[in-house]
Amino acid sequence: MDNLFVYCEVEDGVVADVSLELLTKGRTLANELKCQLEAVIIGANLKDIEKQVIPYGADVVHIIDDPRLAPYTTAPHAAVLIKLFQEEKPQIALMGATPIGRDLGPRVSSALHSGLTADCTSLEIGDHEDKKAGKTYKNLLYQIRPAFGGNIIAWIINPDCRPQMATVREGVMRKQIINANYPSKVNHLEVSKYVSDTDFAVQIIERHLEKRKINIKGASIVVSGGYGVGSKENFKLLYELADVLGAEVGASRAAVDAGYAEHERQIGQTGITVRPKLYIACGISGQVQHRAGMEESAQIISINTDPDAPINSLADYVITGDISEIIPKMIRYYKQNTK
């Protein structure tokens, strides 16, 4: 009762980074709430899978292992979580804002009539006073996220319904092993108690998974472009600079929506979160939704024709001017002064 649950995704026997990140965050929140952290792993061939999550501080690992449970389909995974949550009554349930978490989370929240907040950029514990009802709620989960195109930041709470559910994108939280031999209990669940044959009506006929070609998350330098870059053609300049510096190219949502860059390059709340040692923002105005994905960069250079672009307030260096003039100068200096 009243514990914190994290749904863990598994692909090819490996627990997803986003799930480990959520376990790390969950551990901190559970300490604050003085409750247990419990992981749920649903899939096939899960022998020894608990070893991957226990070091992150899971007090209990629930495992349900059946050949039919991988690859992921909605109904059986939802059936397990719905029943398990009805039995265990967690106060908080977290999952990745991935294609799986975003498919599963709303299904579960709908069945349990519990509130779900998508794409949180921060999770905190705090109290809430409902003045109208004259009620005080202790230790609620504050689900914090940019809203309305990123112009405002909203603190969302679920005062009355449990579990309080939230999804978080990969890379937003940091994963950290706390103890390789963390004392943990493994709980193997019996599939027939949770899933019925009718839950397998949806069948996957074919799957083509590609390893991510673009590794922006791991890049130490990111050259990123916004709507202000002006065209797909102009984006080539960014690729040239990235090529010279050994950087990856990122983009704001406005640039992706305008077709200047692929969706895989989108940085921000609904894209990737990066923490490179250098972030070069070209023609990016800097809405909250974008800033959420890059504000922890060690150093930030903003190149923008608008001297008052909001992103400039984050920047260590503000270059006011046109990228088509500035980037070639940067490339030239770099080529001349390094080997």
């Binding site: 309305f148 603190w155 969302i156 330098i221």
Partner: protein, 291 residues
């Protein structure tokens, strides 16, 4: 095979994609007046997939269901111009303040009033919230299967439907029996444009509320051309438990909203002049940030 009955879930949204500087008022609230209201982009992709089934299987009907204020009837007309057969505007003050769960409850109860259906198609997410929750929540409440992130319907047969999903890391081909709910990605084909004949046919399509404001000249049309009636459904026409609706029926509450106020760092300011840029690059190379 027999035609399908398809419902397209659509939403009118403020165009948050190109938010300008005047989008926020001085007091930090959103200035909705300057944001144009549009057909949610992925709902248009959903409509296109539905219309393609209609093109292929004679007798198929496509009905748009939207929940929103009176002016959301605009997107039903947009749908009619593109080939939808009809639309329902679910509108009532009782729905105000709904979060995704209360919205999905209201939509689900409306769908139950619409009779038998084979397929529900919705955009994956709306650009004003990006939650991607309402589709799956409706499917759960109706007790039907869902397939999210769909970009193409490959095959429709009596026994079921075959679709292609586009995920972050690849594609899946998935088969499922009907009835079924699909949510559609922007990687699906763009929606066809308005058809000139349909535009002529439906340009006076109105809800009952809009008709009160329509020019007298056209009022005679609505008796002789029933297809010009956009069905306005209120809370009285659905079976519902009042405490599941609107703000009361929403488990999530907004505790606090903060306008984003930027505390400027003490940044070095440069222009495009050679000297400044060379100094910057030199500094970055010497501190091993680059190079």
């Amino acid at each position: 095979m027999k035609g399908l009955r398809i419902i397209v879930l659509a939403k009118q949204v403020p165009d948050t994609r190109n938010v300008g500087k005047d989008a926020m008022k001085a007091d930090g609230t959103v200035n909705r007046a300057v944001l144009p209201a549009i057909f949610n982009p992925e709902d248009l992709n959903a409509l296109e997939l539905a219309l393609r089934v209609k093109d292929e299987i004679p007798g198929t009907t496509v009905t748009i269901l939207t929940m929103g204020p009176g002016r959301a009837a605009e997107i039903i007309r947009e749908g009619l111009y593109r080939g939808a057969d009809g639309g329902i505007l679910l509108t009532d003050r009782a729905f105000a303040g709904s979060d995704t769960l209360a919205t999905s409850y209201a939509l689900c109860q409306a769908i139950k009033e619409m009779g038998k259906f084979d397929l529900i198609v919705a955009g994956r997410q709306a650009i004003d919230g990006d939650t991607a929750q309402v589709g799956p929540q409706v499917a759960e409440k109706l007790g039907i299967n869902q397939i999210t992130y769909v970009e193409a319907i490959l095959q429709v047969e009596k026994s079921g439907i075959k679709v292609r999903r586009r995920l972050d890391n690849g594609v899946e081909t998935v088969k499922a029996p009907l009835p079924l709910l699909l949510t559609v990605n922007s990687s699906a084909p763009d929606c066809r444009s308005r058809n000139a004949k349909l535009l002529m046919k439906y340009k006076h399509a109105r809800t009952v509320t809009e008709r009160q404001n329509a020019a007298e000249d056209y009022l005679y049309l609505y008796d002789s051309r029933p297809f010009l009636n956009i069905h306005e459904m209120t809370v009285n026409e659905i079976q519902s438990v009042p405490d599941q609706l609107g703000l009361t029926g929403s488990p999530t509450k907004v505790k606090r909203i903060e306008n984003v106020i930027l505390q400027a760092k003490d940044a070095k300011r440069l222009t495009a002049a050679d000297e400044g840029i060379n100094d910057l690059m030199k500094e970055l190379i010497e501190s091993h940030v680059i190079g």
